[in-house]
Assembly symmetry: C2
DNA sequence: GTCTATACCAGGATAGAC
DNA sequence: GTCTATCCTGGTATAGAC
């Protein structure tokens, strides 16, 4: 049985994934973690601090693997295949929900902005390598990130439309000028 | 002084814009509308129903103008200029927040999905006209919508990054094969 | 239709036993 | 470190006067 701090972080991520940021409370987190609600406050002081810790964890846990796979990429198509794996894990959905909850919440905004930059740096480097000088790689990395985050929103209300849009991105990636 | 139903709808939109869906409560809406909290329930029965009504309103109000401007478009650049106007009004931000709140909320999901389709249909028609058969216009309309919604999330946590990404989309629109 | 007052409940947070 | 029990606040919703 892993230590309680880790179970609470995992429970938070799972709760956000399933119920969205609005449905993420001390009680729902504790239920997902299989512990008592009081432990949220014993270990993290507040729900907000736990959510911030979960934000950091969901980013840092996958980052080494993410960077390693990016380094081996040969095409934009590979990039979208990587996204398929990450999407299945639901990490992007968690990040999208946290960003939505960050509107009007400076503390959560700072935490998610840090997570976003952590993903963005290696992604930008990879796009610069793949695209050379043919396109504005820096801005494209950010636009691509935004598009994939937006897809998580669309998926929440209309999964079929999200699938169609993702397919279009795949096709577009093979049609960019080179 | 406009009628109370309308003031409540306007107050809801304004509240979501400023405080996000998580900060949108019967009390905050009533404060924005300048009326008493009890009137939310008298006129709409529940906060949820009011939010759904606001979702419909924020979509339908701008739709005629939106469609008219789309019909006159000559290039993808015109499209992003139109987006600049809509973004300034904050309607897209409201829709993004509603979609985020719709995760795990079937009723709100249905309402926002309907709004999304209302925007999407004329946008798809315009892209089909502009792109002819050069690209998959249907899927691109959906991908573009997702990207712009995602930008609203990024903007909440890191406005500078959102601006960079939008600039990249502008540049990309002039680099698509034709 | 609009207000004040209030019932009710869920969520955040703390106290204290173990 | 973990539990049960509890407090308090703020959010939803209703009752009843005007």
């Amino acid at each position: 049985m892993p230590d309680t701090r880790q179970r609470l972080i995992d429970g938070t991520i799972e709760t956000i994934r399933q119920h969205g940021i609005a449905g993420t409370t001390a009680r729902s987190i504790a239920a997902a973690a299989g512990v008592t609600q009081a432990l949220v406050f014993y270990h993290f002081g507040s729900v907000q601090e736990l959510v911030k810790a979960a934000c950091l964890a969901v980013t840092q846990d996958r980052l080494p693997l993410f960077e390693e796979r990016l380094a081996r990429m040969r095409s934009l198509g590979d990039l979208l295949a990587l996204h398929t794996d990450e999407q299945a894990r639901g990490n992007l959905r968690v990040l999208a929900q946290m960003m939505a909850g960050a509107r009007g919440n400076p503390q959560l905004a700072a935490a998610t902005a840090a997570a976003l930059r952590l993903w963005l740096a290696p992604l930008r480097a990879t796009l610069e390598r793949l695209l050379a000088d043919r396109l504005d790689a820096g801005g494209l990395a950010e636009a691509l990130c935004a598009a994939l985050l937006g897809l998580e929103l669309v998926d929440a209300v209309d999964p079929a439309t999200a699938t169609t849009a993702l397919t279009a991105l795949h096709r577009l990636s093979t049609n960019l000028p080179d």
